[in-house]
């Protein structure tokens, strides 16, 4: 079961949740608030999540385990105000061999970015703030072929291959 919290993410504790004696590999990914984006200095980010988020993160854990031969998948996402350097998301995956934990961890964070109803607003040094341009949200159960990873709207202008 995933975690959605306003508290600081304890990455070591989260990572420990996927440990198992039959696993030889743990890959973990942390998304961290950067001090800049597209040339502007970022002071902090506010994360907002819609009510279905926790259930969908838990479903994403399950999908990842179905798709890859891994032992355990754990996802934690933070909401509220985050300072530069703080982790917004942690994904940990354990598996027997290393290849699968890398692939599954990468797939989980890539998929999270366009299937989970979370938004971030950046607060800049000059006092302005803005929502980060996102991806149109897709269903986790949708055929992956249908996903466009491009910013929404652009796909209208695509043609050819």
């Amino acid at each position: 079961m995933a975690i959605l919290t306003r508290d600081v993410l304890d990455e070591a504790a989260l990572r420990a949740k996927v440990e198992a004696p039959n696993c030889g590999a743990i890959t973990s990914f942390s998304g961290v608030v950067r001090n800049h984006n597209e040339g502007r200095k970022v002071l902090r980010i506010e994360y907002e999540a819609a009510p279905p988020t926790l259930a969908l993160l838990t479903e994403l854990e399950k999908k990842t385990k179905e798709k890859f031969p891994v032992h355990q998948v754990f996802i934690a996402h933070r909401v509220g105000t985050l300072q530069v350097g703080e982790a917004s998301v942690v994904i940990a995956v354990s598996s027997e061999h290393r290849g699968e934990s890398f692939q599954a961890c990468r797939w989980a964070i890539d998929t999270l970015k366009h299937t989970i109803p979370i938004w971030k607003k950046e607060y800049f040094e000059d006092g302005e703030s803005d929502w980060v341009e996102g991806c149109k949200m897709h269903s986790l159960n949708e055929n992956e072929e249908e996903h466009s990873h491009e910013p929404s709207g652009k796909s209208l202008h695509r043609h050819g291959r």
Binding site: W119, V132, S139
Partner: protein, 81 residues
């Protein structure tokens, strides 16, 4: 029938409210609801085509029928992670 709408992020700013309750004809689809919301809140128009919808954790599309008591989440492009 009554349905409840909840807006998030840019959609909340476009609608100027966190959410609202609407009266729809029986047999109304999500598409009918969305057209009604666009008429009521023209500032939502830039999100037309970019927005997604959930009812609870169920992903719904414009042709899908709504039911009495549904809460529809109006979700602009997402940026989690």
């Amino acid at each position: 029938m009554k349905v409840r709408v909840q807006y998030f992020a840019r959609a909340r700013e476009g609608a100027g409210t966190e959410g609202e309750e609407l009266e729809l004809a029986a047999g109304a689809t999500l598409g009918n609801l969305w057209q009604k919301l666009l008429s009521a809140h023209p500032a939502l128009k830039p999100l037309d085509g970019a927005v997604s919808f959930l009812v609870d954790t169920r992903y719904v599309r414009e042709p899908d029928l709504l039911r009495e008591g549904d809460t529809v989440f109006v979700l602009p492009p997402v940026s989690g992670g």
